[in-house]
């Protein structure tokens, strides 16, 4: 479950870190100025870029660099400054003495932008998490969330969404996720009231994660179905949403929907998010097995996933053959993996599919077979069991056969010529419809999204234009008056 957090660490555009980079502090200052311009111009895009650049610097963050950045960005002696500095360790101060000196030499700029303050919180928080100082990180994140609640600026939304994410991560790492549930719900309400869609999206996912962490599928589904939905703002958040939705659907036995969600999540996830994709694939494999499908071998051979998917590969093999004994031994052999993946209960459900596959194989191979032999082949306990199991399979349409009770045998029906029915035609039709639909959706996706920024500009222009038109109309009217 924790792997999919890694998804955030996408490789930032490589050109942003030239090899001749002067120092991390310098970069941080550049990012700070980016945030400033973003805040003044009200462009969330710039702030998003700032965060991406920060992620590239993540590995290079040091306590000394951070403390000098803090003194650059925040007013020394302000509340935020003292609080944040207290989280940073003070050991290696002499190492970066030069940098600190240069920064103090500059005229102390009086920044009081809330965006910058929140950014500092985010930076310190990331640093603390990377240093595995989870208790400090918890305190820091709680402080930042308390501060965020009092700020209502749209340019903050992007930063806030990130903070929520790390806030939840800190608590998850310390195993106290249930503590922040009500807090997250409150934040979600605030985000909804402020029309902060990115925040809503992030918080909804965090809440779902929170519920699913404790297997509270019922609550998760209730929240999900009631929460407002809108077009996704962030691909990562959408992927996660799909993954969580897929899990909920799987537990509730809606396998067709679940499969769609999980496969889509696996496809949409960025290539770097390997852990997340592995998780999606594991669940998708089980759901497909439960649906009676056998996943292709290529699914298990995806780059970097062979080892993680190995238990699922063997499981698939057992289901494919329809051997109950093999299935049982695989389930036992990898039981620790399955219970840590929390797929154990799903695998118990699979037993039924194994029997069905075995039965189908028998029904294809034999035109007439004694029920005692069926029981032996499927390794069932008694003939009576076999008889009712076969009867149910016939009713569910899994096999086409009849039972003869007095002789105790199963008679398979001759499979009729499928090409004399409309079956192939309908299959063909559904495939064509799928292709055409795919094409239409691709065309639709190529269109540009409505650009809110552009609209704002044109709104001003429109006002100007309208004013001019009104004046013109007045002139004309006056002229008309003059003529008469």
């Amino acid at each position: 479950m924790t792997q999919d957090v890694e998804m955030k660490e996408q490789p930032a555009p490589s050109n942003s870190v030239p090899s001749s980079s002067p120092s991390t502090l310098h970069h941080l200052k550049e990012i700070a100025s980016l945030i400033e311009t973003g805040a003044y111009d009200r462009e969330a895009r710039r702030i998003l870029r700032a965060i991406r650049l920060t992620m590239a610097l993540r590995r290079k963050l040091k306590a000394s660099v951070l403390s000098s950045f803090l003194s650059f960005a925040l007013t020394p002696g302000s509340e935020a400054f003292t609080r944040l500095s207290s989280y940073l360790p003070k050991e290696d101060e002499n190492e970066m003495e030069v940098d600190t000196a240069t920064s103090t030499a500059q005229p102390p700029a009086k920044h009081s932008l809330p965006e910058l303050e929140i950014y500092c919180y985010l930076l310190v928080l990331i640093f603390l998490i990377d240093q595995k100082k989870y208790d400090e990180a918890k305190a820091c994140s709680s402080a930042s969330i308390a501060r965020l609640k009092n700020l209502n600026r749209r340019t903050l939304d992007v930063l806030a969404a990130r903070l929520y994410l790390y806030y939840s991560l800190c608590y998850e790492l310390t195993g106290t996720l249930s503590e922040i549930r009500s807090n997250l719900l409150a934040l979600h309400r605030i985000a909804t009231l402020r029309h902060d869609e990115l925040g809503q999206e992030t918080l909804l996912n965090l809440l779902l994660r929170n519920y699913l962490h404790y297997n509270l599928y019922d609550q998760a589904e209730k929240l999900r179905s009631k929460a407002p939905r809108f077009e996704a703002h962030s691909n990562q958040q959408f992927c996660r949403y799909l993954f969580y939705l897929g899990k909920i659907r799987t537990i509730q036995l809606e396998y067709t929907d679940a499969k769609e969600c999980l496969l889509q999540a696996a496809r949409k996830a960025p290539v770097a998010a390997l852990g997340f994709r592995v998780q999606c694939n594991k669940w998708a494999i089980i759901v497909r097995l439960l649906l009676g499908e056998i996943p292709e071998r290529t699914v298990f051979m995806q780059k970097g996933m062979e080892k993680a998917l190995r238990p699922y590969f063997e499981l698939t093999n057992a289901v494919r053959i329809g051997d109950l004994e093999l299935f049982r031994s695989v389930a036992e052999k990898f039981s620790t993996t399955f219970s840590s993946d929390r797929t154990h209960n799903l695998i118990v459900r699979l037993r039924h599919n194994v029997i069905r596959t075995g039965l189908r194989n028998i029904s294809i191979s034999y035109s007439r077979i004694a029920l005692a032999d069926v029981a032996k082949k499927l390794r069932l306990d008694s003939v009576a069991d076999a008889e009712s199991i076969v009867a149910k399979a016939i009713r569910d349409g899994a096999i086409d056969a009849t039972l003869d009770h007095s002789n105790g045998c199963m008679l398979s029906k001759e499979t009729g010529d499928i090409y004399s029915t409309t079956e192939p035609q309908t299959a063909f039709n559904s495939r064509i419809a799928f292709c055409l639909n795919m094409h239409n959706e691709a065309v639709r996706a190529l269109r540009f999204p409505p650009n809110s920024h552009k609209e704002k500009e044109s709104a001003e222009k429109r006002r100007e234009r309208q004013q001019q038109e009104q004046e013109l109309a007045k002139h004309i009217a006056e002229e008309d008056d003059d003529e008469f």
Binding site: N215, L216, Y217, D218, I251, Q252, L253, E254, S339, N345, V348, R349, R351, H352, I355, L380, S382, A384, D385, S388, I389, V390, A391, K392, A393, I394, R395, A401, T402, L403, D404, H405, S406, G416, D417, S420, T421, T422, Q425, N429, I432, L436, H439, N440
Partner: protein
């Protein structure tokens, strides 16, 4: 001791006495009074306030609701069961860490699983199942319900029926009887599709009737399309999908036209 707490526990003693006497009417009466009294405790869910007596109060409330659930089984009221169970659940999930575990917990969780199975609410059954820990799954009460669900899904109905004999607790019998009725309908549905005919004797055994008379009545009421002649039951076979004789021309024309329209849009 707090006077309110004393009052409630005294009334609960009376309830338990009536419960042992199997005087279920006065039990139900006392229970509704108890529930009203419980609303006055501020330490119970959803408030969970920390009062000096909170542990005692929560423990007492939990025991009351546990008895309420068992009572609802005794008076065979499934709606009351569901209500009482949901009132009880927070005591296991949210207050569980602060209290000593209850002896009755797995028994009641198992009962609830069984109820969901009887009502054919399989999705909820699995949702509840996910909440249980590995140790809970080992408990005979829970295991019983889980195995029942599996046999039921597979179609091993006789295993479902034999499970009635080794029910882990007397309260389970009520639901097992309900389940037997569901199973009979399932078997009837399966037999209809799987067999051409069955001798009356076999059919009676398979559908778990003790006399031919009962079987004939059941057929008359539930499956009037079955035919009884020559000492056998003949099932009316649904007509197999015959090879297509006619070409569904209108449908084909519609489809072809829609392809043409879509292709035109692409080219």
């Amino acid at each position: 001791m707090d006077p309110q707490l004393t009052e409630v526990s005294q009334m609960f003693e009376r309830f338990k006495a009536a419960f042992i006497r199997k005087d279920f009417d006065s039990c139900a009466n006392l229970l509704s009074q108890l529930k009203v009294l419980l609303t006055k405790f501020r330490s119970l869910p959803p408030l969970f306030e920390n009062t000096p007596n909170s542990v005692n109060e929560v423990l007492l409330a939990r025991e009351i609701y546990e008895h309420a659930v068992v009572l609802s089984v005794k008076i065979e009221d499934q709606d009351a069961f569901e209500r009482d169970f949901f009132q009880l659940k927070p005591y296991y999930t949210d207050a569980g860490s602060r209290l000593p575990p209850s002896q009755q917990e797995y028994l009641i969780l198992g009962l609830n699983l069984l109820r969901l199975l009887v009502q054919n609410r399989i999705a909820e059954f699995h949702t509840e199942l996910e909440l249980l820990s590995a140790t809970a799954l080992e408990n005979p009460c829970i295991k019983h319900a889980v195995e029942l669900e599996q046999s039921f899904m597979e179609g091993a109905y006789n295993r479902v029926l034999s499970a009635r004999q080794n029910a882990p607790h007397e309260t389970y019998v009520y639901f097992m009887d309900l389940l037997a009725k569901t199973v009979r309908d399932e078997i009837a549905g399966c037999s209809e599709k799987a067999y051409d005919y069955l001798s009356i004797n076999d059919a009676r055994q398979m559908l778990l009737f003790s006399s031919d008379q009962e079987l004939l009545e059941y057929i008359k009421e539930e499956h009037p399309d079955w035919e009884v002649k020559n000492g056998s039951v003949y099932f009316q076979k649904a007509k197999d999908s015959a090879p297509c004789k006619e070409i569904p021309s209108l449908q084909l024309i519609n489809q072809t036209l829609s392809y043409a329209r879509e292709l035109e849009r692409i080219v």
